[in-house]
Symmetry: C2
Subunit: 198 residues, 2 copies
């Protein structure tokens, strides 16, 4: 019999602890930070952040302090404790499960595209390309800012982990774009006129 009541991983915990190594932040700050600097590989939303912060506080992995503000809700600033840092380090050393299947809806549609006229598939591919181009532009933006100053100072041991992470994002988006271009060219080369598919 299995009574173990498995305490599930909940990766958001570690994302929050990690961000708090950079500076004490509020729930709002944490959300903004993920949006600005981690959006190409991570996201968080308020409905998780606030309860998770409370839980982390109960476990004494963070402590909170309040900043009074006029005309708006108080800011709850969360600071990492030594226990919190230890917990983060423990997790960083753990083996990481390889996730092979982030579901890709674009690809799912392509896979069954024989059910639909070629023109529709080409249109779908063009939309995808456009989204990727936007993504690339925003990553290149981030890269310019990042290379400039901010992160060198944050990671003073000469280990540019954040830049390396960013280069992952750039590699991936560029690879996707190249495949996209290649594929659109291929599809445009196919004979257009077809009767109804069966």
């Amino acid at each position: 019999m299995r009574t173990s009541m498995k305490r599930q991983e909940n990766k958001s915990r570690y994302a929050l602890l990690g961000m708090l190594t950079i500076a004490p932040m509020s729930g709002y700050d944490l959300k903004k930070f993920t949006e600005k600097s981690m959006n190409y590989f991570w996201n968080e939303n308020y409905a998780w952040i606030y309860p998770t912060l409370k839980q982390l506080e109960q476990e004494e992995l963070v402590i909170s302090s309040q900043e009074k503000q006029e005309g708006r809700p108080d800011r709850h600033l969360y600071t990492l404790t030594e226990q919190g840092r230890a917990e983060l380090r423990r997790w960083l050393g753990e083996p990481t499960a390889f996730h092979e299947t982030p579901r890709n809806e674009h690809l799912l549609k392509l896979f069954f595209a024989d059910q639909v006229p070629l023109s529709i598939t080409i249109e779908q591919m063009r939309f995808w390309r456009e989204a990727l181009q936007n993504m690339l532009a925003s990553l290149e933006d981030l890269d310019r800012q990042a290379s400039a100053v901010a992160w060198e100072q944050e990671v003073p041991q000469g280990r540019p982990y954040r830049l390396i992470a960013l280069s992952y994002g750039l590699h991936m988006v560029r690879a996707q774009l190249m495949w996209c271009e290649e594929t659109i060219a291929k599809l445009e080369g196919l004979p257009q006129k077809r009767g109804k598919q069966r």
Copy 2:
């Protein structure tokens, strides 16, 4: 309690309808098919498949027939109806939301790797590389099988969508591997000895 079964997007519906364009299949078959041919961009599990098939049947997008078998449960074979095919086509033509953030736990760890000795990060990267190499091997396997015969016959209009999808998988895994090699080399070039991080 679930009475209304609200008509939400539920991508699995379309994945199942799509697979049933290839041949009538049972829940078991559908799972096997995703594992064998779609694992690099999609997954399904029984706990979704069986209830979803029932729902699709109620909506008359599929019909089921039973095959009696000795000594094992009957096979429920599901066949796509014309309405099912129409519903699939409708979805295939719909604009596809671009999902920018498949969470990547490997990258999350790398992002906060300054909290931990360099050797740990290198070890993490090597494990990741190994997983990617396995993935690549299995995709190349699939590619060999696929290029051989099967899918050309399934898609007789001369539109090799499944091969193109597969080439997406290959592009991505190769790009990840290249980045991985690059990064491991970079990290191995950094000075090893360090006091405790702060």
